[in-house]
Symmetry: C2
Subunit: 395 residues, 2 copies
Amino acid sequence: MENFNFNVSTDIRFGKDRLDELPSVLNQFGKNVLLVYGGGSIKRSGLYEKIKTLLKENGLKMFELGGVDPNPKIESVREGVMLCKYHKIDVILAVGGGSVIDCSKVISGAVFYEGDPWEMVLSRRYEGPTIPLVTILTLATTGTEMNRGAVISDLNAKQKLGIHGTNFLPKVSFLDPSLTFSVSKYQTLAGSADILSHLMEQYFNLTPGTEVQDSIAEGLMKTVIQCMPVALHEPTHYDARANLMWASTLALNGLVGSGRKGAWSCHAMEHELSAFYDITHGIGLAILTPRWLDYILNEQTLPKIERFARNVWQIQEPDSMKAAKMGIQALYDFFEENGVPMTLPEVGIPDDRDFAAMAQQAIDHSSLLTDAFEVLGVKDVVAIYQACLTKSKFI
Amino acid sequence: MENFNFNVSTDIRFGKDRLDELPSVLNQFGKNVLLVYGGGSIKRSGLYEKIKTLLKENGLKMFELGGVDPNPKIESVREGVMLCKYHKIDVILAVGGGSVIDCSKVISGAVFYEGDPWEMVLSRRYEGPTIPLVTILTLATTGTEMNRGAVISDLNAKQKLGIHGTNFLPKVSFLDPSLTFSVSKYQTLAGSADILSHLMEQYFNLTPGTEVQDSIAEGLMKTVIQCMPVALHEPTHYDARANLMWASTLALNGLVGSGRKGAWSCHAMEHELSAFYDITHGIGLAILTPRWLDYILNEQTLPKIERFARNVWQIQEPDSMKAAKMGIQALYDFFEENGVPMTLPEVGIPDDRDFAAMAQQAIDHSSLLTDAFEVLGVKDVVAIYQACLTKSKFI
């Protein structure tokens, strides 16, 4: 195990019927609140009106930045920065999924950044001050509600980049599982695939002696595998939604990733799919991951992939290589049986015309070439993309 | 899953060779440091001299409270409070295991408490201010380095009581696994048994829908079961010590306990063994737990005990009741094979003369009678104590 810091001070308010706590939470930071949200589902659900009324009744002034897209765009950040400066915003209230919260994080720092926000994103780290951020999560996916990362896209430049900020960590996050009852099947699938991918990206790693982290990762993977089908079948199943939500948060708050290092492989490859074609992030990950595992399966990676097969998928097959392949197949089948479109053409990437350019960017924007679980070059990434064009069978 | 708050802001500095960070950590709180430690092992190991030199070189003034006992006594708290007031202490530096840290927590609050510190402990909660606390952990056991609880004994009153304080949470905790290389076999056993017990106390619970918490608990239990024998056999095995240490911290920082409620059964019963006979806490827990599980095994408790047998001990036996019993036996055998004295006479409790009084106190000081995994009365507790007088066989 490597040395690490773990310092995750977000005040989590987990559970239903806790909105009454919001005014006092916001009040500790000031009176001027910037509400950031997405496509308007919070208006349809009535959450927007509830928040507006609550804030008004408690003497808080609410300003708004709506319309933040999935794969949030740098244009939204620029708009948010202007609003923060003009209205002297004291606290940002992000209500939504990962996109809304990520956009809010970058706004919170960019307000104090001298150059254009995209320059800040290009630098990949921000150590300066931020406007305090409070979140109300409406989608179990990215874990951004309890970490220091954010992902922002510039579609003009065909770039989707992660940035970390010491002070991007939300001060308070409200996690109400019942707010995810209305999440569509497709978004539940995509969100769950994203959680699983976060866990696998950290789990498939070469640092030895990370038993705590690995066993937590396996436990959270099993939780998602158990609860996702329940939530798909019965969208208002509170405990299924609650476990998916809490798993999503814990999957990426440092618990699983601390004490080891190494590149994330599928995210590096998927970010280019989203940057070029604006596809749903989690679905892209579900498509890529089994093909990636199959492509990198070799003597060095076998022990961990076999362990994954046995501990997560309860594969009993005695032969190690065969067991590993059965684990990869089980992952693929899990996604397919639950309705994930498992080829690129199904999500609007018709052929391989952009694979070389995307692979090059995947390499340029990551350390796939140097410190991945299994290092990958452009040729390898193209081969993995290629395997995603048609249905796969691994055994 | 029940609603919960999770807000654990302790800044964890995990790993070896990080003592150089100590002066700047302390400096943010002030110049006057009260060093709290135990029986002098930190003097023998050289850690005491290193800290003294570091603090002096960095202009910090060090005062001392040494000799804090295992099962820390209220007398040490009173002494610490006097020292804090007299020397205008700005920050407490606790260097040791759970006893030293727990004692320091209670001191940190009792300084601001108007009455005698034991009155504060008797009230079981402290919501007032505290002196900031920094810890250097030298024993993987209680998890106190990242939570808000403390346990203090008054041997005159034969009482050992837990107290929670909102501000008892350490500000910074240094977790250096190599500081546990010198921990004796017996203390490694006791510490590991304590970690396992914390996990089991939270895991054996009736709240439904806590898949995240249960799967994390199972993962941490498996980690301890895997790493404890390695650390016993090779005390300087870094990764074994690192995983035991990180597991001990995560076992009791809210990850496993959040979202459910209910009494801790074995701790309630063990606290009286320690209060009456001053035995080692973890060993008392190891002795009690299998007998408790066997005593409460019934139709209602079967599903969880069976799950424990299958997921933690890989029991394949198809019959549920038999599998559950095999799990209890596996737990007992694990302790016994690794050298835990598994009967009360072996640890200096010769017979049942105090069982009735201890059982009565266990009931008085807990909610065993109302909200345990399986509710227990005085008669039940006596029966469980009784089963601990001789070796056991569960199948």
